[in-house]
């Protein structure tokens, strides 16, 4: 039925006329602000207009250009609900109008004209203002999101994703000029997919957990808290509307072990809308918990398989929202499809097989937020870190315990960034058997619409042991507007100001049941804010980072959609936690090998086994845990973008940047928030700090490489796939291994021809470590190197006047030779010659010590050479004098170290009477040391 809502039509009807009914046009002004030059500009804006109903023939006009209007809702006729138009300078901008449902019209504007060829290069110098007019659509509210590319193109980040704007803009978002009666309903809906590891290792005990607290049980508790926070943050608020998010938000669930499986949250689907019921039959708290409860850990680990399945299921949606994947895993991937870089390099990550084979992870255009349970450094942690950074996601890793809970919750905050959820305060401690926990005192300011408190505690026998006590700033106990209790968690919310006034609230953990407990219980308590006006996002600029290179932390802060610039000094303080020790050094120093199988019989990689062993015996986890450094970073600001650089990355491993926001500003009042982001800093080896040692054998050689940096960090084991070794053919690399699991990699070179000296080029993460002939690399025990000795004997033949009195005799020489290059050598020669007198009644000896330069010609095992030199000569009978020699010869290598040599030399020795001149023809052998 066509509604008569326009007064003109109503008057026409009242007058008996037949004028068609058209509702009054609504005109909006869309403003796309210029963002600071250090961050990408908004390239796409999507607006979903909500209406009580949409009349036939809805019209959309953008920047004065009337679009071809959709004629029917998609629910009626999918072929007629979606139209495209162009507008703006040179008609380069694109507008899409989609009549999604009888009550919703979506408008997406892509602002191509503000960019040069791609979305990393913007020409926008001023705020862009665009008029949007609707007719026959009486919007009552709208949801909106702005999008940009993840990062700009820089020298250190030369190939970001520039052709698709998919990252939601946090601050400096586009705004829609206010129209009476048209409310901003919040953000556009999201599809958050949990991708959970259920491989066999998940049955292992939780490192640092209470007795009986398994990884699987902890994961269940963590996910429940995640879900509870998700539901309560987006629950029904005091105005009867969603506090955070949209009823059309969806949660998805995928498990993976050897292969992925669907976690069916709805009939035949891994997804469930936020607005739908999440209840499940007891004892499960909700449908997600019910799915986890029906599974048990087993199998191998295929992270790629899990992500691929999430992607396939999300793409299959006919009404997909912007996706975010939250990936949890506790072990290194060992089952294809793998997520791996191109061989020997670090980026970009690709799928190794499956339907997405060779697809770059970044080309999923989906932020992937990773949560790792394991060592906070090493290949496993670095991979998860890289997955997140290549996809504009975030990475968090923990060795276990309650931080798994907080990591999940924090990743939900990250998933919603560009939206409205943030962390106000957190406490982690043990609740003593007597009394209550220390009060958490979050400052809940007036910009917050809802506060959600999450309490989680360690498992084992502690089910339903703790609860929450919440008091408002006046000290009055407050009943939360919603509360959810699980075996190991409680999540409760209060609304501001309905539950109490803005101010410093008090929240603490209290005992509910401790009858059988005999020890304090570790717990965490976090306070989250559902923001009404404040918005911020902290990121680490995704540049290749390693030890010795700076990490840049960037914060975009906004309030009421505008950049919050010129905050008071010290408003944003960033503290750094740095690893206590480098994991590689600990692993290199220990000869422990670990168990080939975990406690539940699961085979595990040698590196993981060694880490587990050292975690038990040498306090490894604690030693590599980031520790606070004194002071805070110097923060600079430009246009509401705050940046700080930390360059003391002298230890490899996990760095944590703890952000404290605490300011009082006329625009915002008092604000107090906290945030933590993490970044892996791998060891970047340098040639000077990398140990290399060669062992040569017949036809082969082993090059031992221990990559290290100038700070004394070694890379450690588990990085053999980052090596790229090239040798001169026909020699070849047979393999690279780390037999001792200590980060000393054995590069096996075979098929070396006799006497050959193949050139060896070793790179790690694309950085050259060595590039030299094998003989020039440092030689180890039993190897052959640049030094050799020669021993020759033969005849000595006098010439000229010397020949008159003396007959030929014998000669013997010994030398020590140092190869300066592949063709030039220097040798120190000692020799003795003896000549018989022509009369046969006496002998004359010539003894020499000479320095010679030797020029080798050709290559291979037979090497002709020229030589010449000078030195001291003793002639007996005669004087001590000097002389010179010049000659040529042949050297034939019989093997890697032994060769035979023959040489002719001519000698001229100065003497007071007759200058002896003679030649020697000698043969002998040469032994490479």
């Amino acid at each position: 039925m066509q509604l008569v809502r326009c007064w003109a039509a109503a008057l026409a009807v009242a007058a008996g006329g037949l004028a068609p009914c058209h509702t009054l046009a609504q005109s909006f002004t869309l403003t796309v602000p210029v963002r600071p030059a250090t961050v990408p500009q908004t390239a796409r804006v999507k607006i979903a207009f909500e209406s009580a109903s949409i009349d036939p023939n809805p019209q959309v006009t953008v920047a004065g250009t009337a679009m071809l209007a959709p004629t029917q809702p998609c629910t009626v006729n999918p072929a007629a609900c979606n139209t495209l138009g162009v507008f703006g300078p040179a008609n380069a901008d694109v507008a899409q109008a989609k009549w999604v449902s009888p009550t919703r019209m979506e408008l997406t504007l892509t602002l191509n004209s503000d960019f040069m060829g791609h979305f990393c290069a913007s020409t926008r110098m001023a705020d862009r203002s665009i008029t949007v007019a609707l007719s026959n659509v009486t919007a009552t509210g709208y949801r909106m999101a702005s999008y940009s590319v993840p990062e700009l193109m820089t020298a250190t980040n030369p190939a970001p994703k520039c052709d698709v704007a998919f990252r939601r803009v946090s601050t400096g978002k586009a705004t829609l000029g206010p129209v009476m009666g048209v409310d901003n309903l919040g953000r556009l809906p999201l599809d958050v997919v949990l991708v959970l590891d259920k491989s066999g290792s998940m049955a292992d005990p939780l490192p640092g957990g209470a007795p009986g607290d398994s990884r699987w049980e902890r994961l269940d508790a963590s996910v429940q808290q995640f879900m509870a926070l998700y539901k309560q943050a987006g629950g029904v608020g005091p105005l009867g509307t969603s506090v955070e998010g949209s009823p059309d938000d969806r949660m998805g669930l995928v498990f993976f072990d050897t292969s992925p499986t669907d976690g069916l949250l709805s009939v035949g689907s891994i997804f469930r809308r936020r607005a739908d019921s999440w209840d499940a039959p007891a004892p499960a708290n909700n449908v997600v918990s019910a799915q986890i409860a029906t599974r048990s850990p087993g199998g191998w680990t295929s992270i790629g398989g899990g992500i691929e399945r999430a992607r396939v299921r999300q793409v299959a949606l006919t009404d997909a929202n912007d996706p975010v994947f939250v990936v949890f895993t506790d072990g290194e991937q060992n089952e294809p499809p793998l997520i791996q870089p191109d061989p020997m390099t670090t980026a970009p990550l690709k799928f190794s097989s499956g339907s997405l084979i060779n697809t770059r992870l970044m080309d999923l255009t989906t932020p992937v937020l990773t949560i790792g349970l394991g060592a906070t450094a090493g290949p496993f942690a670095e991979l998860l870190n890289q997955v997140a950074h290549e996809t504009a996601g975030q990475s968090r890793i923990t060795t276990g315990g309650l931080t798994l809970d907080t990591n999940f919750a924090d990743q939900l905050v990250a998933a919603l960034k560009g939206n409205t959820l943030s962390l106000m305060a957190r406490r982690m401690e043990a609740l003593p058997l007597t009394g209550a926990g220390t009060e958490l005192r979050p400052l809940i300011d007036g910009s917050v619409t809802r506060a959600v408190f999450v309490l989680g505690w360690e498992g084992g026998r502690n089910a339903r042991a703790l609860g929450l006590r919440i008091r408002d700033p006046n000290g009055a106990d407050v009943q939360p507007v919603v509360v959810e209790q699980g075996a190991l968690y409680t999540v409760a919310s209060v609304d501001i100001p309905q539950s109490g006034p803005a101010g410093e609230w008090q929240v603490q953990a209290v005992w509910i049941r401790k009858d059988t407990l005999t020890a304090p219980v570790n717990y965490h308590l976090s306070a989250y804010a559902v923001e009404g006006r404040l918005d911020y996002r902290f990121t680490i600029v995704p540049a290749p980072v390693g030890t010795g290179e700076p990490v840049v932390v960037r914060a975009e802060v906004g309030f009421d959609g505008q950049p919050l610039d010129n905050l008071p000094p010290g408003a944003i303080r960033i503290h750094v936690d740095r690893p206590g020790e480098n994991l590689g050094n600990i692993l290199a120093a220990s000869q422990a090998t670990g168990e080939a199988h975990s406690e539940n019989g699961r085979p595990q990689p040698p590196v993981s086994a060694k880490i587990d062993r050292l975690a038990d015996t040498e306090n490894l986890i604690d030693r590599i845990t980031p520790r606070p450094l004194p002071g805070s970073l110097n923060v600079t600001e430009q246009g509401g973008v705050y940046e700080a650089a930390f360059d003391q990355t002298v230890v490899g491993g996990q760095y944590r940047f703890r952000v404290e926001m605490d300011w009082t500003d006329p625009r915002t009042g008092r604000i107090l928030r906290t945030e933590a982001i993490e970044r892996q800093v791998p060891v970047l080896p340098t040639p000077g700090a990398t140990r290399v040692e060669v062992s040569r054998h017949r036809g082969s050689a082993t090059v031992l490489v221990t990559p290290g940096d100038r700070f004394g960090n070694v890379v450690g084991p588990g990085y053999d796939h980052f090596f790229d070794v090239q040798v001169t053919p026909p020699a070849r690399v047979a393999g690279i291994s780390d037999p001792g699991v200590r980060g000393t990699y054995a590069i096996s070179i075979v098929d070396i021809p006799p006497g050959a000296d193949p050139r060896v080029t070793i790179t790690f993460r694309g950085r050259p470590l060595r590039d030299a002939p094998l003989s020039r690399l440092p030689q180890g025990q039993g190897g052959g190197g640049p030094l050799s000795i020669g021993l020759r004997a033969g005849v000595a033949v006098p010439h000229g006047d010397f020949d008159t009195d003396w007959d030929p005799g014998f000669a013997i020489d010994a030398d020590l030779e140092l190869a300066l290059t592949r063709s030039i050598a220097f040798q120190v020669v000692g020799g003795y010659r003896s000549f018989n007198s022509a009369a046969g009644d006496s002998t004359l000896s010539v003894t020499r010590v000479s320095g010679n330069l030797k020029l080798y010609l050709g290559s291979g095992s037979l090497r002709p050479f020229l030589n010449g030199g000078a030195g001291a000569y003793w002639v007996d009978p005669g004087d001590f004098s000097h002389g010179a020699n010049v000659g040529a010869g042949l050297l034939l290598w019989l093997g890697d170290r032994l060769g035979v040599e023959a040489a002719y030399n001519f000698y001229a020795v100065q003497q007071p009477t007759v200058d002896p001149t003679f030649s020697t023809v000698e043969a002998g052998f040469r032994l490479r040391l």
Binding site: K98, D322, P323
Partner: protein, 328 residues
């Protein structure tokens, strides 16, 4: 029809007479059943000339045939059918009434009669393009002209080879059949270039034989012309939904859709809907990196690659400006 009387200056002409004149003139103009054009019989054998005049549909009839000595030549006389017509009346191209007879003068026989003399040895003066530009370089597939003397006016009697390979085609220049041959350069000359990038082959021996002696000349054979490169002049619309069509305008596209590869960035078009030499209609592919959310967009440059029959690339052109793909 009664004879039309002559008229004198100052006479009035009756309409009837005038119309009769008009009818006669009209009968001589080309058109169905209104007259005939005399064909060229010169250079043909008597047998060919008779066959041409007697063929079904011909509106003319053979007249007398005499040789240059005035002797009547009878088709029944052995060897007469191979003697050449050297003159005819009416002349070639004349418009005549239907049923007109064509008289022929036939070449004489040598002494001894009966056995025709071997044709005189041809000579080659020069080679030139079909349009008359002297040159000695021709591309494979070209039609070249060989100018000389004593070529057989019967094209089939001229044998032309290129390094021993028969010409692709041989015909006599109608305007000068005995002195100008039009010859197609074959594509299978040994070692002759095949691709535009191949070097030319010089010293290719062109031999012309008219049944007896032969004469040769040498030419340079160049590669056949490369196929024209595709060119994109524009596309429309500049933004389109995934799964919908884009029209690409330009030139030198293949009319075989399967030989046009349309790419959006690095992704092939979902389908080629149609293709002409100047226009391709292609379907926007479902990019793997285009977010699945409705309204998501991706910038991509459109390119067209035209391939040959074996799949080899003839050329590629990239359109100026970005195309915007939109998720429906």
């Amino acid at each position: 029809m009664a004879p039309i009387p002559h008229v004198q200056p100052g006479d009035l002409i009756r309409a009837t007479d005038m119309n009769a004149l008009i009818d006669i003139v009209n009968a001589l103009e080309p058109g169905p059943q209104t007259g005939a054009t005399v064909p060229n019989l010169v250079g043909r054998t008597l047998g060919q000339a008779l066959a041409l005049l007697n063929q079904q549909g011909s509106s003319l009839a053979p007249g007398f045939a005499i040789d240059v000595f005035g002797a009547v030549v009878s088709p029944a006389t052995p060897g007469s059918l191979t003697r050449l017509v050297i003159m005819q009346s009416p002349s070639v191209g004349a418009r005549v009434s239907l049923g007109t007879t064509v008289d022929m003068i036939i070449a004489g026989q040598g002494a001894g009669g009966g056995n025709p003399q071997p044709p005189p040895a041809p000579t080659i003066t020069r080679t030139e393009t079909a349009t008359g530009t002297p040159t000695t370089t021709f591309r494979v597939g070209d039609t070249m002209a060989i100018v000389g003397t004593n070529f057989s006016v019967v094209a089939a009697q001229n044998t032309v080879t290129f390094d021993g390979v028969p010409a692709a085609s041989v015909s006599s220049d109608p305007s000068d059949p005995s002195r100008r041959l039009l010859v197609g350069v074959p594509n299978n000359i040994p070692d002759a270039p095949a691709d535009p990038d191949d070097p030319s082959k010089s010293g290719v021996v062109v031999a012309v034989s008219t049944g007896g002696a032969s004469v040769t000349t040498t030419i340079t054979v160049a590669a056949p012309p490369g196929e024209p490169q595709p060119q994109i002049s524009g596309f429309t619309p500049t933004a389109q939904f995934v799964g919908s069509n884009v029209t690409i305008n330009g030139a030198n596209f293949s009319t075989n859709p399967s030989r046009n590869i349309v790419r959006f960035g690095t992704t092939n078009a979902q389908a080629i809907v149609s293709a002409t030499a100047t226009q391709i209609v292609a379907t926007v592919p479902n990019f793997s990196d285009l977010p699945v959310t409705s309204g998501a967009t991706k910038l991509a440059q459109i390119s067209v690659t035209v391939t040959n029959e074996s799949g080899g690339e003839i050329g590629t052109d990239v359109a100026e400006g970005n195309f915007t793909a939109v998720r429906p």
